[in-house]
Amino acid sequence: MEKIITLEEAVSKISDGMTVMIGGFLGTGSPDLLVDKIIEKGIRNLAVVANDTSFPDQNIGKLVVGKNVSKVIVSHIGTNPETGRQMNAGELDVVLVPQGTLAEQVRAGGAGLGGVLTPTGLGTIVEEGKEKVVVDGKTFILEKPIRADIAIIRASKVDRKGNCVFDKAARNFNPLMAMAADTVIVEADEIVEVGSIDPDQVMTPHIFVNYIVKGAK
């Protein structure tokens, strides 16, 4: 099964209205070529799950500015004023989630768990409308798993089977999202032969990865 495809082929897997997970943290570790291609193709009405909406001129930030997105589920929008503007204008649905909760929700989506029981958000507006579960006298918010149609992630080194290695702080949400989407596309800074990554150092096993595109590096 050949997983390496062109950018054009990769983005053809993404349609208007899909839920898309995008790896990265303020742009670090985000799949830049894939996002640029989404904008070029004019795909719209996407629901994006990501840590943040980055900066206006970077990755997810550009998707917001380009109005390719109708909903974002993120922990932070402060670095992208356009996200706040669209939210206040009623043009963009913004769901804000505590970062650790978001990470566990994505992990739960990938791990077949029914939800996440977290103390984070208790006594705040985050708990509004959510079920609470008491375990041994302690109260937790039940946060639901999150899955997506597509995850687009970025890795520094990927073998031709799809085993991924991430570099430094570019790891962040990437390995979690790779587990939680029906289709996973990785933008690889470097594509290497199978067998050249030490099996102990694989961070995302190849079985999670459907397609590989070569990044710009």
């Binding site: 943290f25 303020l26 742009g27 670090t28 570790g29 840590n51 943040d52 900066f55 993120v74 922990s75 932070h76 929008i77 402060g78 670095t79 706040g84 939210m87 913004v94 804000l96 505590p98 970062q99 650790g100 909760t101 978001l102 990470a103 566990e104 994505v106 992990r107 977290t118 103390p119 984070t120 958000g121 208790l122 006594g123 705040t124 507006i125 985050v126 520094s156 991430f166 570099d167 430094k168 702080a169 570019a170 790891r171 962040n172 949400f173 990437n174 390995p175 979690l176 961070m203």
Partner: protein, 217 residues
């Protein structure tokens, strides 16, 4: 008066212990790293995915894929470790973080903290703050005592909370206040100020510690 931010950061640093894992919020709290007492080994976490954070690199010496939780260039010290966002918040939520230092829009006598949104005005999102304040063993609010004259230390917060009853210590340029079951106890005071002056800048009723000390500047 010495630089206000320096006074605060220095005093916060005195709260750190040998072997502590510490997370510093963006802005003023970041300065704390500059004043870690000699002879103690403190590890700093960057919640985007590593421990062992060092100083910001000089211009031109930035390292690819190595940014802090504010998206700014960062560095790591020997013995650092990178991980994904689920692990990062497992550390935070799981009680493995000894101390978190954050700023506040408002903080109150019950240990409630509001620092993530001003409804209708500014909604940057909570990022990792809710998890940090809920999970850390010790929560220190480090901020200027008032915001351009506006009072920030209240009997009860009016802004949406970041977390309920989690703050342990409030450190400002005016003094050091501990959150107790009875309310805020003023434990240290700026040597140039009277108790009345501090109370005048504080809405919450201050309980004056019997052994009230002068703040070490």
């Amino acid at each position: 008066m010495a630089d206000v931010k320096t006074i605060i950061a220095k005093r916060v640093a005195m709260e750190l212990n040998d072997g502590d894992l510490v997370n510093l919020g963006i802005g003023l709290p970041t300065l704390v790293a500059n004043f870690v007492p000699e002879g103690i080994d403190v590890t700093f976490q960057s919640e985007n995915g590593f421990i062992g954070m060092g100083n910001a690199p000089e211009t031109g010496a930035e390292i690819e894929n190595l940014v802090n939780a504010g998206g700014l260039p960062s560095s790591v010290l020997p013995g650092a470790a990178f991980f994904d966002s689920a692990m990062s918040f497992a550390i935070i939520r799981g009680g493995h973080l000894d101390c978190t230092v954050l700023g506040a829009l408002q903080v109150d006598a019950k240990g409630n903290l509001a620092n993530w949104m001003i409804p209708g005005k500014k909604v940057p999102g909570m990022g990792g703050a809710m998890d940090l304040v809920t999970g850390a063993k010790k929560v220190i609010v480090a901020m200027t005592h008032t915001a351009k004259g506006d009072i920030k230390i209240l009997e009860e917060c009016t802004l949406p909370l970041t977390a309920k009853g989690q703050v342990n210590l409030i450190i400002t340029e005016m003094g050091v206040m501990e959150v107790t079951a009875k309310g805020l106890v003023l434990k240290e005071i700026h040597p140039d100020l009277s108790v009345e002056e501090v109370q005048a800048a504080t809405s919450a009723k201050l309980i004056i510690a019997p052994d009230l000390k002068k703040m070490c500047l």
